[in-house]
Amino acid sequence: MTLLEVRDLVVEYGTVRAVDKVSFDVGRGEIFGVLGESGSGKTTLMTAITRLQRPPARIAGGTVAYRPADGTPVELVGCTPKQLRELRWERVAVVFQSAMSSLNPVMRVGTQFADAIRAHRSVKRAEAWDRAAELLELVGIPRDRVGSYPHELSGGMRQRAAIALSLACRPDLVVMDEPTTAVDVVMQRQILDNLKELQATFGFSVLFVTHDLSLLVELADRIMVMYAGRAVEIASAEDIYRDPQHPYTQGLRDSFPSLHGPRRELRGIGGAPPDLRHLPTGCAFEPRCPQRVDDCRETLPLLIERDRTQAACLLLDDRLEVRHAGSR
């Protein structure tokens, strides 16, 4: 069952295309990971889906269909501000990278929770505070901290409070933009374990945006890898790690040092990410690709589906494979 259906989404900053015809589905109760380096368009994609993009960013095309279990599908790109207000937090919630900047420093945590709850439910203030305390308990913060100000909580607690806040109205989809980059590894592990637990209990879907492949492989069900604004590979987490198809994904996989098991050779990816203002006509990864063929410079590869894995690389195109079998 599909919850979110993104088709050919294009986001532009002036003349620069930050997200270029990206299509993917997020299933109900699925943790869908979006992986990309800085400048790959992952955050732009996330803001476009939640309609939080700010000028000069502009959605130049494509659709984002949200399909609730009960009711008619909503087309998010065409939503009016009023429709968006009803949808946000009720259906789609967001957790940002830095909790310090997503929580108001001069309001008690409980007040902020009550605000969000009372915007969508007609409940008394005291009832909303009760609910806030319950939510905090869900993420392992003692009830009595509901009266604290954000600065009185530790970094890890603030981030967990932000996650609790996103669950205030039991949304179907929680979009998370690098929620654990600002916390330590031990805290990160606990936040992710907690998130998985909550997700199993409430069954919401998660769109998890990050640059950390090793984290995503452990957490996500499926992963989309982005490069220079395009999706280059969409596959299950297991396949992305064990059997990556696109040379960029392979390069990423081989750049991560592993902690357990035998030491393997790290290869990395040479060169630098492309300048989005001067993208090549062909594959954007071509200049850095160790397996490039002549056609890569001219032909833009499209996502090709094979065995439930989608990858955008000419090498995977059957018709081409015959032609280049000798030269590879």
Binding site: E37, S38, G140, I141, S154, G155, G156, M157, D184, V185, V186, M187, Q188, R189, Q190, D193, H211, D212, L213, S214, L215, V217, E218, A237, E238, Y241, G251, L252, S255, F256, P257, S258, L259, H260, G261, R263, L266, R267, G268, I269, G270, A272, P273
Partner: protein, 320 residues
């Protein structure tokens, strides 16, 4: 090459807590050797950056000594300080903040060259430096401003600037954590080459123990101002002895473990590094440790040495 012996740094607190002290580094010792990389691994707030500042004389230790090539460095003697600055160079985390945006690469690299003795036309020296950090051809980069360079290129300029002083020790304070994953490996390789070929000693400060495993010869783990474990990189990561190192390794994401990860014993939910404003009698990890015993919070654990120079400070490993 560079050695820290029992270095402690206390900082005075202000405002309501006036009169109290915060211990940022507590009797830490480490030794950097030529051609070797030592990794210092710890969480934020564990004191690793303070130690880096002390090693580069950016800060004065409250007690303990710094030795360079066997000789004690005195902060009070100007000649000592200047010699030290030339020989021990720091590379910072954020190449966006550490390079002056108003100057071209040429100027940025000429400053340390002139400060440490060079004069006249430095173009050739600068190009040589740029090519040493794999910014080739150097002519192409010499007249650029930092904003025209990518993150990885900028960090290379920062490394070139450190090399301009002709140091014997490089201290990298999270030198790759701001860079993209695909770029990180190249920069780490550059460090490894500089150590192996030019015999530089390096301290690699990081919170990423996986990269330390691959890149460092030895790893020291610091927790709440104290060194808790150290030894050869492979030993420390594969046979961790201290419960904190074990927790750190268990928490680090590792895709090789898909499906086989044991669930972590939940260690106290509010586990920020412990408050260090009071003098701590016992082990700093005692409050979070799953194996804590009464003695742990009463007396500081002694150092136990294992095979191959692997050591740990934990009561679990003492004989009695």
């Amino acid at each position: 090459m560079l050695e820290a012996v029992d270095v402690t740094k206390r900082m005075a607190l202000h405002g309501r807590r006036r009169g109290q002290w915060f211990t940022a580094v507590d009797s830490a010792s480490l030794k950097l050797e030529s051609g070797k990389v030592l990794a210092l691994v710890g969480e934020s707030g564990s004191g690793k950056s303070t130690l880096a500042r002390i090693l580069t004389l950016g800060d004065e230790p409250s007690s303990g000594t710094i030795r360079l090539a066997g000789k004690e460095v005195s902060l009070r003697r100007r000649a000592d300080r200047q010699a030290h600055f030339g020989q021990v160079q720091l590379i910072m985390q954020d190449p966006f903040a550490s390079l002056n945006q108003l100057h071209r690469v040429r100027y940025i690299l000429s400053r340390p060259l002139r400060n440490f003795g060079a004069s006249g036309d430095l173009t050739d020296r600068i190009i040589e430096l740029l090519e040493r950090v794999n910014l080739t051809p150097g002519e192409q980069y010499i007249d650029k401003y930092p904003h025209e360079l990518s993150g990885g290129q900028r960090q290379r300029v920062a490394i070139a600037r450190a090399l301009a002083a002709d140091p014997v020790v490089l201290i990298g304070d999270e030198p790759v954590s701001m860079l993209d994953v695909s770029i990180r490996l190249d920069v780490l390789r550059l460090f490894a080459d500089l150590c192996a070929q030019d015999g530089l000693a390096m301290l690699y400060i990081t919170h990423d123990i996986a990269s330390a495993r691959y890149f460092a010869d030895e790893i020291n783990v610091i927790y709440a101002a104290r060194m808790v474990e150290g030894g050869p990189a492979e030993e420390v990561t594969q046979r961790p002895r201290h419960p904190y190192t074990q927790l750190l390794l268990e928490s680090s994401p590792d895709p090789d473990r898909i499906g086989e990860r044991s669930t972590l014993p939940i260690v106290d939910t509010s586990n920020e590094p412990v408050d260090r404003e009071q003098e701590l009698a016992g082990c700093p990890f005692a409050a979070r440790c799953p194996h804590a015993m009464p003695i742990c919070s009463e007396q500081p654990p002694p150092t136990t040495t294992f095979a191959e120079g692997h050591w740990s400070r934990c009561w679990l490993h003492t004989e009695s």
